[in-house]
Amino acid sequence: MIVTRGLTKRYGKTVAVDGLSFTVPSGVVTGFLGPNGSGKSTTMRMIMGLDVPDAGAATVNGLLYDELRWPLREVGALLDAKAFHPGRTARQHLRWLAKSNEIPEGRVDEVLDIVGLTSVADQRAGKFSLGMGQRLGIAGALLGDPGVLLFDEPVNGLDPEGIRWARYLLRDLAAEGRTVLVSSHLISEMALTAERLVVIGRGTLIAETSVEDFSAQHQSEAVRVVTPTPQLMVTALSKAGARPTVSEDGGIVVTGVPSARIGEIAARASLTLHELTPIRASLEDAFMELTSDSVEYRSRERELVPAR
């Protein structure tokens, strides 16, 4: 179990993480979500003891990271990108890690096999692709067979097969009763992998919930209506308490009432319907909306439209 309480980190005047408290239980995959620059990596670095918090604390199984007796046998971590020397082979990298925590040498070959790097075990890691580097990082995390695992953007650079593999791996690790915290800025990925979510923005907690509840709370149902008489339709819908908005293509997007009710309203007003389609706002939309105030680096879409 990972617990953070009032975790705070400042870099000069910028507050990277601001009084962050959350709990990561064992047995399920917990997704750690937030836009780029929201403080996910900094939080993970503080859990690992790499950065010292300005206030608050993070504990793993009730202990600060540097109090762990055999850290690699209790916590496995894949932190942002590469954490190995390009001049060493994959096997050499894992070997010195194993020595540091008295992990049997045989385990090196086992984890190389688990991540599928056996055939390139004696190649220098500097020649690895991003995806192979991620796999080596995952091998390092699994080396001590730890009960707690932290993965910072593990699917970065993996190909579709690798992404699927990582997804199953994370779920299997959790199913074995381990604590698994996975950061990502893609909620669609987390929806497929995680059961619980910790959502942060600008270093503060936005939501700590299950994926199911998150979807139920933040996904709004809407219905798209196409009719030859949009003006009359909007009036009728408004009278009935729905919230219609006319979209650019002439269709109407209605929220607040289910599609069956819209059909009834149209029938009562004797209006023709050409289309009546329920649309579901994606989880992504919900996530964007939730974190819209806390996005650090926003792209300005309009500038991409060529001037007329």
Binding site: L68, W70, P71, W96, R178
Partner: protein, 271 residues
């Protein structure tokens, strides 16, 4: 697709023992031995040292007999000339032992494995120090005997270990190489970037003596490179230089200072 993890779901973490100095040393030995740069720098050190010692002694072996009298001919020092190469290469090895970790991100793995930074520091300094001490002593003795062998092809008077001060010069010269490596390690800990740390090391060892030469009172004699060449590796005392003992102690102080600052930076600053 299923993944066989092939180990029991949760192996309880070992209750007894903990990661300490011994484990950290084992990891550091494994790290140092598996780096290509270690082998490369060792190769440069050995070949470079022997080449320069050959050139230095071969050039000095064939003067007329009178040439060797009256100015303090020092066959030991002549043979030690090649170790200047060793001092540079092993200093770079010391820098890379730590800056390579910061540059590649290995530092994150190192601290994940050995989170107590004072333990990590002690292990790294011990391994780099002892390894370069052994290399330095072997190199120093080999250079000495090799140099005397070359000198004896000519008419030059040669030295042997039984003569006063000769054994001391050879032993301290070997140990001095280890101090260069630890000075590099200290600078690497403070600066963290390979290029910056190597530039600083080169500045201290190569540039400082040249710059200080122009200043009255010969302050250059306090720089590591001059102590190395003129005090520690010398048997025949040279005018206006530090004695071997004072020079060696001064270099130990420089090294300890660099390591102490480096240790504080490692412990206090975010990785």
């Amino acid at each position: 697709m299923t993944i066989a993890l092939s180990l029991p779901a949760t192996t309880p973490a070992a209750r007894e023992g903990r990661v300490g100095f011994r484990q950290a040393v084992a990891a550091e030995v494994s790290k140092l031995a598996s780096l290509r740069s270690t082998k490369l720098l060792l190769g440069i050190t050995v070949l470079g040292t022997m080449l320069v010692t050959f050139l230095s002694t071969n050039g000095a072996a064939h003067h007329a007999r009178q040439w060797y009298q009256g100015f303090g001919w020092d066959p030991t020092n002549q043979a030690m000339a090649g170790l200047a190469i060793g001092s540079l290469a092993l200093g770079v090895l010391g820098v890379l032992a730590i800056s390579g970790e910061y540059g590649s991100g290995t530092m994150r793995s190192s601290l994940a494995a050995v989170p107590r930074r004072e333990t990590l520091f002690a292990a790294k300094a011990t391994v780099v120090g002892l390894f370069t001490l052994v290399v330095g002593e072997i190199l120093s003795f080999v250079a000495f005997f090799f140099g005397q062998a070359i000198l004896s092809t000519g008419v030059a008077p040669t030295a042997h270990l039984g003569q006063p001060g000769v054994l001391r010069a050879v032993v301290l010269t070997g140990a001095f190489l280890s101090l260069f490596a630890l000075l590099g390690l200290g600078l690497g800990l403070i600066i963290r970037h390979t290029a910056g740390a190597i530039a600083t090391f080169a500045g201290v060892t190569l540039l400082a003596p040249i710059l200080l030469q122009t200043i009255a009172g010969h302050p250059a004699k306090y720089t590591p490179a001059i102590i190395f060449a003129q005090s520690v590796a010398a048997v025949v005392p040279q005018g206006n230089q530090l004695s071997a003992t004072i020079g060696f102690v001064l270099m130990v102080l420089y090294t300890v200072a660099a390591l102490a600052v480096g240790a504080v930076v490692l412990i206090k600053r975010d990785a």
